[in-house]
Point group: C2
Chain length 408, copies 2
């Protein structure tokens, strides 16, 4: 089996960790910010040094291409290089740099490929500066219009996405956008962002899809009253009622299916004063599972919540959801064969988080490769995968690419 260079892979991670580096570790590299533009420039310089042709499309997505032996559509691999605020050195950028390491290996080792290969950088995956997340793959896949996105203002600021894009110097031709004529397959390596691979002592996750999800706000409305003068039996305490519903949801959803994840991550309490009984509490419920039937049962559980809890009125609002996305079986087979051939332990798994690949999968055969995340922690400065782990992911990508090149 072919292998990439561990030191070279690690050097890439370390080199790009400078762009937006925070004191004490981690980065803030918001989309199209100065540190993100520095990282883009460095990516371009390195790709061109390898003899790749670097282009961008009209929303600043970058495509670095190396020619193949035959006149065939390109195989593309990549991810994003923007981060959340106080993020880490792996989420996104690992997918770009492992793809670049694979290209470097192909080029330096003279591995002959029939197809051209492209290393890709998506603009604004995180949505941390300009909402929503996965903005550019969403534009390419027509989830929303480019026009509406150009007007989006940065969170907490006044610059629009359109202005930031214009100022970046990365606006290229719309015809360069990812499409199904010039491209035939998409691979996205990524850190798992969860604890499963680490806990199960596995090297590689063969990501067969992105789980479906549904989001609710659940609202409890009681009556505010004075903490000192209202006997307990007369209270309609919205926080007490919310606590009851949160625990009931853990009971009911927790026994539905072991792969279901659900989160009550956000809570608002009014008036939120220590001497006043709360009259209003709203909390979020985010539920994800690969099987639409399980999601349906989540919906049924929410619908069957009582209309009154401890004297408080219960209501809920359904927010956005998404259906489960399944990646391409042929590409997943290439990934599996690569892991197997390299002697790595692996398992098939779904991604609980969203990735550009979920949109791309509607356009091109797609697959993702996960590597372990230390303690399952991402979107934090302590995000970490070891040099051995980052190389293994690159090795799997390299061999999957070579098999795809032969088979497609």
């Amino acid at each position: 089996m072919l292998t990439t260079d561990k030191n070279r892979m690690d050097e890439k991670i370390k080199a790009f960790s400078k762009f937006g580096a925070l004191e004490g570790g981690g980065i803030t590299r918001l989309s199209l910010s100065e540190p993100a533009l520095q990282a883009r420039a460095e990516f371009k310089r390195r790709a061109e040094d390898l003899g790749m042709t670097v282009e961008s499309d009209d929303i600043g997505n970058i495509y670095a291409t190396y020619a193949g032996a035959e006149d065939l559509p390109r195989i593309v691999m990549g991810s994003h290089l923007d981060s959340v605020r106080s993020g880490g050195n792996y989420d996104g950028i690992y997918g770009v740099l492992s793809s670049l390491e694979v290209a470097e290996t192909v080029i330096r080792d003279g591995i002959k490929l029939r197809h051209p290969i492209t290393v890709m950088v998506w603009t604004n995956e995180e949505g941390a500066r300009f909402e929503p997340a996965m903005m550019s793959s969403g534009i390419v896949m027509k989830k929303w219009t480019k026009e509406s996105m150009l007007k989006v203002k940065e969170t907490g600021g006044t610059v629009t996405f359109g202005e930031a894009l214009e100022a970046s110097g990365w606006i290229g031709d719309e015809s360069n956008r990812l499409n199904d004529k010039d491209y035939c397959a998409y691979f996205e390596p990524h850190i798992e962002q969860g604890p499963v691979l680490e806990n199960e002592k596995l090297d590689i996750g063969v990501v067969q899809g992105v789980v479906g999800m549904i989001n609710y706000d659940i609202i409890l409305e009681g009556v505010s009253s004075h903490a000192g003068t209202t006997p307990q039996q007369y209270r309609k305490d919205a926080l007490r009622a919310a606590a009851k519903v949160i625990l009931d949801l853990w009971d009911k959803l927790g026994s539905l299916d072991k792969d279901l994840v659900f989160t009550t991550g956000e809570i608002t309490c009014r008036p939120n004063v220590h001497t006043v009984v709360p009259n209003y509490v709203k909390f979020s419920l985010d539920s994800r599972h690969k099987d639409p039937d399980v999601i349906k049962r989540v919906v049924d559980i929410v619908k069957s919540l009582p209309s009154e809890v401890y004297g408080c009125k219960l209501s809920y609002e359904e927010h956005w959801g998404r259906s489960t996305i399944n990646f391409n079986e042929q590409l997943l087979g290439f990934v599996e064969n690569a892991a197997k051939g390299l002697g790595y332990s692996f398992k098939r798994m779904y991604s609980g988080a969203g990735h550009d690949a979920q949109y791309v999968s509607e356009l091109l055969p797609s697959a993702m490769i996960f590597i372990p995340t230390k303690d399952g922690l991402s979107h934090t400065v302590v995000e970490y995968s070891s040099p051995e782990e980052t190389q293994r992911g690159a090795n799997v990508l390299l061999n999957a690419l070579v098999e795809a090149d032969k088979s497609l």
Copy 2:
């Protein structure tokens, strides 16, 4: 039995409801604000029209005095005229205006009293503009120094209490402060601010004291992780743990004693993002009971909380508390006799809320009189007591005053 004038009492409430009136009802009359100064001026005008002498002390507390037949210390009655933001037309001001109505009855009806009587207005009882609450009675009773209070900045602004006091024109002589040489008894009428009198269909609360209290912050520390990628069994969800502790507290404290009140009114959740498992939740616990042994059992329950809940570390911080204050039995007897004589239903009860009377009780024999509060609601624009209820309270005060005048 003597009675006050219902229409006159009601006119006073309506007249003072103008100062700081909000569209749609209620008032915002923060301490020493323009509307509060208007209300003070109106109080002074009305008291002087009755032939009373109006003085103030060095922290703007107002004393309107009518001479008695003998050279005896004064009997004082009153409350405050400041309100919380979006407060009502009864909390505080009712105590001032019912006292003024009693004085007006004494004066107009020519009721001969041996003692001089004083109607009093305390500066800044609510603490809504300048913290803490009961600031001026606390200064007089040396709970804190005047110097430290003068430096207190208004909440959300830059003006200090000292500057507002200076600008008010109400600074008088320190020797005018309430003291135990010139005064011999203190009565404070107030709305109940709770639902007990209304629910038990009682006219009058004979307030025998202010319950003791203890305050905690309870903190749960878990681990933040991604809502989509962290299986439930690996989670250390601080909000789930907090929900469990809140319900456990309801179970344990709820069965301690029927008169114990406890409130978890304030909650902070971090990072409070719907896609992230919360790693930190802090909530307040406010517990009040007249019996120190019951408060001690609350402390024991908090101390016996487990150190870990659903994998989250539990800790707590004890904040301020107060001991139960008991009012003067002789004065309570006068109040009871008055209610009985007038044919009003009444019961002895404790105040769960703090009042200036609790500090004054350390200086002078003191008692409070409660009237019902519609739906138990106060600190809100819908705060309401009927003209019948406001008059009944004034009638009880009048007859208690007359008995005190004979007995003291």
